[in-house]
Amino acid sequence: MRHWIEKQRYIIDFTISSLLRRKVKNFGLLALYTLIVFILASTMFFTYSIKKEASLILKDAPEIVVQKIVAGRHDLLPVSYLDTIKNIRGVAAVESRLWGYYYDSLVGANYTLLVPPANGNSADNAQSPAKTTVVEGEPGIDKSKPLFELNGAVLEPGTLIIGNGIARLRDIGKGDYMPFLTFDGNVVNFRIAGTLSSQSELVSADLMLITGEDFRKLFGIDNSYVTDLTVVVNNPSEIATVASKIKKRLPQARPIIRDEILRTYDSIFNWRGGMMIVIFSAAVLAFVIFAWDKASGLSAGERREIGILKAVGWETSDVIQMKFWEGAMISLTAFFTGVILAYVHVFFTGSLVFEPALKGWSSLYPNFELTPFVNLEQLTTLFFLTVVPYTVATIVPIWRAATIDPDSAMRFTGD
C-alpha cells in the first residue's frame, strides 16, 4: 500500500510539472472551468434557497383566494359573493381583502396598498372609525416582540405603515408625510405611523398598510365592492372540492388555492425557463467544447511526451494514471474554487452578479438575505455534473494514445 501511495505521489509530482510547462493553456482552462462551476453553483444555491424560503414563508397563505374575472381581467368583487360562498358546505370562514397598486411617479415605483384584515375592508365596517392596532402576536410566538417594527404604532385614518423598501427609496420614516393623488385628482397627505421590519422585506418591501376607509377614499371604491375574498375551509383535504363548488356557484369567480400559490413559487427560477436555460446552455456548451477538445485527440506535443514516457519504461497503465490525475487535479481545483466562491457570492454578497438581472426595471427592490439552504445532495449533484464528465473525457483519448507504439508516437507530428 505504501509503495502504491508513493508511486501515485511521484506521478502527481510529474503531472504538476507537466501542467506547469503549459502554464497559459492550463491556467486559462482552469479559469474558464472555475467560472462555469461558479455560475452553475451560484444558480443552484440561489434558486434552491429562494424556493425553499418561499415554501416556508407562504405555507400559511390563504387556503383559497377568490377573484372575480370580467372579460379575462381581474375585477372588483361584489360583497354579495361573500354570503354565497359562506353557504357552501365545508367553508369555515370567508373574509374580504382590499388591496391594490399605486404608482409613484416621483420615483417610478409601484407600491402595494393593503388594508390589514379586520380593518374596514368589508362593507359592514368600512365606516367604522375604530382604531386597530397592527401589533399582533400569536400563541407560541414571543408576544413581547411586536410583529411589526412599530413600537406600539397604531394604524388609524390618515396614517400609513410602510414597508422598509419604500422607507429606503423615499428616505422617509415615522412622522413624515406622503402625498397621494386620489382617483378624482385631489392630493391627500398620509402620515407615516411606522415601518415594517427590515427582516421582512422579502414579503413587505413595497407594502403600505392603510385603513379601509382611506383605501376607498383614495381609489373611489364603493362600499359594496372588495378586491377579493379569502376562504378558510374546515377540512384541508376538501380545499379543491370547495374551490370547484365556488366556481360552479359563481361562474365569474376564479378560485386560487394555496397549493397553486406554492407551486407558482416552486416553478419560479425553474431551470427550463428563461434566463436559467440561457445560463445552463452556455455552461453546457462550454463543457461540450472542453470535452470535445479532450476527446478529439491530443496535440503533437502530448503524443510525443507519451511516446517518450513509454520509451523510458512507463507502462500504459502509468500513462493513464498520469492523465487521470491531470483531469482530476484540474477539475477538483475548479470545483472547490467555484463552489466556495459561489457560496460567498450568493450568501455573503447578496448575489452581486445576478442582482442587475433580478432588479430588472424595478426601482423598488427588496433588500434581503437568503437563508443558506445548502445540503450535501446539491454538492454531490454539482460534483457529478462537473468533475466526473471532465475526468472521464480526459481518460478516453489517452487510452488510445497510450496503447500505440512509442516509436510511432514520437514520430507522429501532425494533429
Partner: protein
C-alpha cells in the same frame, strides 16, 4: 515541498472549507428560524399571497394572482417584456389540460 504535498494540502483544505460552509449553512438555517417565522407570521396576519421579488409590474409582483392572459394584457402583441419575466415560468395551470 513536493508538488504532490501541495496538491494534497489544497484538496484537503478544499474539503475542510466545504464542510465549514455546510456547517455555516446549517447554523444559519437554525439562526434564521425566528426571521422566517416573522415573515410567515406577516403572511398569515396580512393574508399575503406572494413574495415581493419583482415590483416592476402587477403581474410580476403578484405572480400567483396574475391574470391568465398576463403576457398580452398591455397590448395584443405584447409578449412578456419585463426582465423578471425571463426568470419565471407561466403558472402550471396554464399548461394543464382540464
Amino acid at each position: 515541498m513536493r508538488n504532490s504535498s501541495l496538491f494534497l494540502i489544497y484538496t484537503s483544505s478544499g474539503v475542510v472549507l466545504l464542510s465549514l460552509l455546510l456547517a455555516h449553512a446549517s447554523l444559519s438555517e437554525t439562526a434564521q428560524q425566528e426571521n422566517l417565522k416573522e415573515k410567515a407570521m406577516l403572511v398569515k396576519t396580512l393574508k399575503l399571497t406572494d413574495l415581493c421579488l419583482f415590483t416592476e409590474a402587477r403581474y410580476t409582483r403578484h405572480l400567483s394572482q396574475a391574470d391568465l392572459n398576463t403576457a398580452f394584457q398591455d397590448h395584443p402583441l405584447s409578449l412578456e417584456h419585463f426582465p423578471s419575466g425571463s426568470f419565471t415560468q407561466p403558472p402550471e395551470r396554464m399548461s394543464e389540460r382540464p
